[in-house]
Symmetry: C2
Subunit: 137 residues, 2 copies
């Protein structure tokens, strides 16, 4: 935060990592506007994303840095890095050339709640690749 301006009005990028040292990060297709996935970044993954131009996250389950697509080849080329008013969330606008969800869909958001239901989901997308062929066991 600059001394003279609140974080919301500042042109200084001062990301506010949470108590675990993480920031929520949203990946959005730069061309279509579709939300592709939601993940987390630590300081190192944010620095790598800025330095390399490829979406890089922190895997909380594997407890390690995770360049999206390092295994599947389905990388994210960063077009723009945005932050929100209180600088505690990151939005990556990215271009991608293949499905981004490990289940086989283009986006992780492939299900929507049925209208007038509280617990039934509609599948609103088709799989765009076969994860069994993409991910080596």
């Amino acid at each position: 935060m600059t001394a003279d301006k609140p974080i919301e009005e500042s042109a200084e990028f001062t990301p506010q990592f949470n108590e675990q040292g993480l920031l929520p990060a949203i990946a959005q297709d730069a061309h279509t506007g579709q939300i592709l996935m939601f993940a987390w970044m630590n300081r190192q993954s944010l620095d790598e994303t800025i330095k390399t131009g490829f979406g890089t996250y922190y895997s909380r389950s594997r407890k390690k840095l995770w360049k999206k697509g390092e295994q599947s080849g389905h990388t994210q080329k960063v077009v723009q890095i945005l932050t929100d008013c209180d600088q505690d969330t990151i939005l990556l606008k990215v271009t991608v050339d293949a499905g981004q969800c490990h289940v086989g869909y283009h986006s992780c958001f492939y299900r929507a709640l049925k209208p007038d239901s509280q617990n039934e989901l509609d599948f609103i997308a088709q799989k765009s690749y076969d994860p069994a062929k993409t991910y080596k066991k």
Copy 2:
């Protein structure tokens, strides 16, 4: 989770709240695809969102349910509620009739990292309303 299908393939909505009882929630303009804000939901706010059709969150700072726009009038009418592969994130597609960020912008994501910079932000949007007139002190 259904007994016979993993959560990624299930048509049952079984949101996976984190250890604080919260889910990350992204609000996206249903018409333009613009990301408007990022916030959190607890079980009650998700239920209210489903029941009322208006984006309702949980304010971690105020420790209370928060219907977006309850003070400013800048509500979010829910068009669709999506969840991601592991059902631990919510995406609301919403229609809005006024700026959604408390700072005065349409979206909270009004700044982007300057190309080739690690710490300088560009303001990429204009304010769409005057928060001083909207929020009563």
